[in-house]
């Protein structure tokens, strides 16, 4: 990526100069094309974070909206009152519940990401090694579920994992188990749900990394005395690292803040921070606390988000 941006810079600057000189008039159009989407994102994506931050510093109140104002003033009485409350953040630190929720979210997201990688790798590898129409078909099969409702795919697992669900019925009828397994409303079901719904996001970047790989490299490795298993670890895996990193980030980041999956598949003791935020907001109606939870989550995720410089992997694949 870094190399290609270099050339784009050169090309871009030359064409820009040309446009400045010859097509002076269209600079307005050019400005608008940059400004409109930037303006939209600025208002509806960036500023909201500032608002969240502001509200995280206020206190909950019985009012509409339900929080105290940060700044109060009265020009006639000539006073300005700035009231910043760190109470929400202190409470986040004090109450072990929140720390546990963050840690448990990260743990669940990390473990799920690992298993997603494990399942996605052979699929991506097989697709990358298939040829022509077969490759297109397999790729379509991976992407197809992504086009169907996420909510319904999570829901499909409920029917699968229930106490008298399909998996249990199947295992009972085979005589492998004599008591139905408790699978729904466990952490296991949450792992399964995350792996399942995020699988395409892992397969696609992996596929695009593996597809670029030159197959003669494996022959060269064998020629130099490498067994196939060895050449997988010495050649294939290192070359797939960009895809592995991109895929893991695309799964890990949203998984940390996941709400639907723990809400539908998890048990009451499945602690995830997305769910905590939801409950603070919708059940406790404590907007400032929900904001503080969101800000801390953002701080936790800011590093991995920065790592995805561009969502190239995702875009290319779709």
């Amino acid at each position: 990526m870094s190399i290609s941006t270099g050339s784009v810079w050169v090309d871009g600057s030359s064409s820009r100069m040309q446009r400045y000189n010859i097509f002076r008039r269209v600079n307005w159009g050019r400005f608008a094309v940059v400004a409109i989407p930037a303006f939209w994102l600025g208002i509806f994506f960036f500023i909201p974070f500032l608002v969240v931050f502001k509200i995280s510093l206020s206190e909950t109140a019985i009012a509409v909206p339900p929080y105290t104002p940060l700044l109060e003033w009265d020009l006639e009485e000539a006073y300005i009152n700035l009231k910043i409350s760190l109470g929400n953040y202190l409470y986040l630190l004090e109450d072990a519940f929140y720390l546990e929720a963050y840690l448990s979210s990260i743990k669940i997201a990390a473990i799920s990401t690992f298993f997603t990688l494990l399942i996605a790798f052979p699929i991506a590898y097989l697709i990358a090694r298939s040829d022509g129409s077969r490759r297109a078909l397999l790729l379509a099969l991976v992407i197809l579920p992504f086009w169907t409702s996420f909510l319904l795919r999570v829901y499909a697992w409920m029917g699968f994992l229930k106490k008298n669900g399909i998996v249990n019925e199947f295992l009972l009828s085979l005589g492998i188990i004599d008591q139905p397994l408790v699978m729904l409303q466990t952490d296991f079901a949450v792992y399964l749900g995350i792996v399942y719904t995020y699988l395409p996001f892992m397969v696609l970047p992996l596929y695009s990394a593996l597809e670029k790989m030159d197959m003669t490299l494996l022959e060269a490795a064998e020629d130099l005395g490498c067994r196939p298993a060895q050449s997988f670890f010495l050649i294939t895996l290192p070359l797939a690292i960009p895809g592995i990193v991109a895929g893991c980030l695309l799964v890990f980041i949203p998984a940390v803040g996941e709400f639907v999956i723990p809400a539908l598949l998890g048990g009451s003791d499945t602690l995830m921070i997305g769910r905590v935020l939801w409950d603070e907001f919708f059940l406790n109606r404590d907007w400032p606390m929900a904001s503080a939870v969101a800000i801390v989550m953002l701080i936790v995720l800011v590093l991995p988000i920065m790592l995805i410089r561009n969502g190239q992997g995702k875009g290319e694949a779709i």
């Binding site: 269209v26 509806f44 409920m158």
Partner: protein, 271 residues
Amino acid sequence: MQRKSLFLRFSAGFGFLFLYAPIIALIIYSFNKSKLVTVWGGWSLKWYSELFQNDQIIDAALLSLKIAFISATVAVVLGTMAGYVLSRFGPFRGKMIFSGWITAPLVMPEVITGLSLLLLFVALEGMFGWPSGRGTGTIIIAHVTFCMAYVAVIVQARLSSMDETLEEAAMDLGAKPSSLFFLVTLPLIAPAIISGWLLSFTLSLDDLVIASFVSGPGNSTLPMVIFSKVRLGVTPEVNALATIMIAIVAIGVIAAMFQMRRQARLLAKLD
């Protein structure tokens, strides 16, 4: 030549099974006569007829379709602009921030996006009186915001894989930048724009979390209704609904594949 070991085939096959088994089971059970979801009571279309008599679901579906249509259309316009800026504008002040903003909504946990947009709407209402109350309008704004990121990335990917000399040739033949875009660039990125629109449409139709935050009372979208139903357990009506949605998507994708294959065959004939 092709080295595909049994292990690889087996594990990839397992992956595909994992991907499709729940969906297939769900489809089969949507035709189950029995009210008990896991007991097979014979084939029946009972749940489909009940689904179509359920006004709550029908209303929510219509609202969701409306929101998805508008959101996708606006998102395509804004996202195409952004994608074009990213891949064709060269360096400009603030490009790093711009591209960061574009891609961040892709991975941002939905609870954060939803909460922050809601708080923004509340604050705006307090300051300017707009938007007064929350409902369809605020959901559309929220959906446009995260859908345009997807469109931007798709369009950018398409543009950067496209030969820039085509545009240079058009300029050489006298096309001004504005007509260049509409006469050359736009037709070339049309497939990306179409898939961007379709993806935006699906994402909007599918969104539960963000809509829950920014919608007002009485504005329940389809996912919100489904969620409140399935939270209480598996319901056969939802199975039927899911089957219909999956069928529509599958037909769409298969039609797209056939279209592509037909074009490829046509090209092959021309050769």
